[in-house]
């Protein structure tokens, strides 16, 4: 509890906070409202979105941009991909992070191992994407491949593979997911590892004395005890995946079946404001449920302070 002497007149602290409050309103609250209103307007924002309707084709009136965002073929592809991203990379990053956290906890060179796994986080996503683009690189029509992966395949007698421009769309997506896991596994590891260190040693020792195997100790004791943290990491990763942009933009620009929501939104920023903002609203709508889980957990943590 803050004591009485720290109680100020009604205005003094507000004066200091006013600056922060004003800029947050101008740059966060107002643009958020504006995103909603612009999503109901046309390409340039001059008219209602219904102005973009074409005679003889389906039209959702002022919600025309939402018709695009929810039913267009390209958008459906993006939504499918984001769903796959969540289904595969969230367990991938959290699982890899958990594995590294558990394994490094048992070795002498814990810090070195962790430093290596976390290293990709220090490089920008743009930089990471470029490095991987080189690894996946396919020299068109040439036998001599300088992209690392294809060079290895050719050296082993195989045929070079188009990792990012494959006619099979799933291949291109898998290539992107690998980069994502490489980037984020260290993040998950770091947070989960901090949680693991908080599990009381006595409980673990006691169960070992009772004859539990390491496997049982992990599944029955460690995992349940750090489950709240696992949830936080997983929800955070869901939000990150919904927002994924940089690596898709740099590596494939959404071509060959790799489109994602955020990249669609970016493509329309200049050419069709209304659509871009409708996609933005869709993105917010998808993120909000996950965000609420995170905020609720966050408030619980704050309440315990």
């Amino acid at each position: 509890m803050v004591p009485k002497i720290m109680k100020q007149g009604r205005f003094t602290p507000w004066f200091y906070l006013l600056g922060a409050l004003v800029i947050m309103t101008v740059f966060i609250v107002y643009p958020t409202i504006r995103t909603f209103t612009l999503s109901l307007r046309d390409k340039t924002g001059a008219n209602w979105a219904s102005a973009d309707c074409v005679r003889g084709q389906p039209c959702w009136g002022i919600f025309e941009n939402y018709r695009y965002a929810l039913t267009d073929k390209e958008m459906l592809e993006a939504l499918r991909n984001n769903a796959l991203w969540i289904l595969l990379t969230v367990p991938g990053t959290v699982g890899a992070g958990l594995m590294f956290a558990v394994l490094t906890d048992r070795v002498r060179y814990e810090r070195i191992a962790k430093t290596i796994v976390f290293l990709p986080m220090a490089i920008s996503f743009v930089g990471a994407s470029i490095i991987w683009k080189f690894i996946y690189y396919l020299e068109a029509g040439a036998r001599s491949q300088i992209g690392l992966l294809n060079a290895i395949i050719v050296a082993l007698g195989g045929e070079p593979v188009a990792w990012l421009t494959n006619p099979k769309w799933i291949v291109n997506n898998i290539s992107l997911w690998i980069v994502w896991i490489w980037l984020w596994a260290g993040f998950c590891m770091t947070i989960l590892s901090a949680a693991l260190k908080g599990v009381p040693t006595e409980i673990l020792e006691a169960s070992r004395v009772d004859g539990a195997s390491e496997w049982q100790v992990f599944w029955r004791i460690m995992l349940p005890m750090i489950l709240p943290t696992v949830t936080v990491v997983a929800t955070t990763m869901v939000i990150n995946v919904l927002k994924v942009f940089d690596i898709v933009f740099v590596m494939t620009n959404g071509l060959n079946g790799t489109e994602v929501i955020a990249n669609r939104m970016f493509k329309f920023i200049v050419t069709n404001q209304g659509r871009s903002m409708a996609i933005a609203v869709l993105l917010i709508a998808l993120i909000i449920p996950v965000m609420i889980i995170n905020i609720r957990r966050f408030r619980e943590q704050e309440a315990m302070r």
């Binding site: 796994v117 743009v126 490489w182 740099v250």
Partner: protein, 292 residues
Amino acid sequence: MSAHRTPRRTVRLNPTRIGIYTLLILFALLFLIPVYVLVVSSLKTFAEVQDLSRLWSPPTGLHLESFRAAWWGIPEKGLRGLSQNLLNSVYLTVPATILSSMLGSLNGYILSKWRFRGANVLFPLMLFGMFIPYQSILIPLTQTLAAIHLGGTIWGLILVHVVYGIPITTLIFRNYYAEVPTDLVEAARIDGANILGVYWRVLFPLSVPGFVVVIIWQFTNIWNEFLFAVSILQKPDVQPITVALRNLAGSQIQEWNMIMAGTLIAAVPTLLIYIIMGRYFIRGLLAGSVKG
């Protein structure tokens, strides 16, 4: 349980431990391969990088041509160098980091040590600001910037990063200052210090570790940021290095040695911070981890 809590000399090599070590070494190598590719390719010449038989070999010597090309560009091929953009990144990141840390520190102090009506309004607003996906409000934001004549300028982008940094920096400092004994603050208060005096005399001098964490966090995020930069800054001569790097890599001429050198140049500041001050880097990450 964990081995590191038992005295080291009792650790014996049994099959399980050998398995764990093998697995970890394997993963460590897998994680390092891209970094190896980055460093080795950047030190090679164009001919060398094309030579398949030398793929895994280190470069024949210290070839700095790639770095020279990435830094100054290759005008005859129409490739811009990164020198100006690296400077732009410095002009962008340094003021944005300092301003958002200062503001976060002040806000955090006021929210944690002063009692006043309205704190209950402000804090949820901060939370909202922390969790909203900023990319969703890009267009209105650029319009706002244009309206205040900062559209397309580095100052506009600095402002954006300062604003979007406030919620998280405030939160980190608020939690940091919550640990500072209120007795200290009260003592200063009784001595007659005003609201700002308390901050300068008591909180600020104690803030160094807090500032280190926040500055590293902000610096890394702003330095590596791409979406806002590419949306707000269209002119190549004001773009920060992430945007210029992407343009360099996206051009038709695939001089991978030069591109890798450019990538390494762009990554050096954040990599150095990570390697030298990794502990604080991770502390910032833990503090900001709820953000998503």
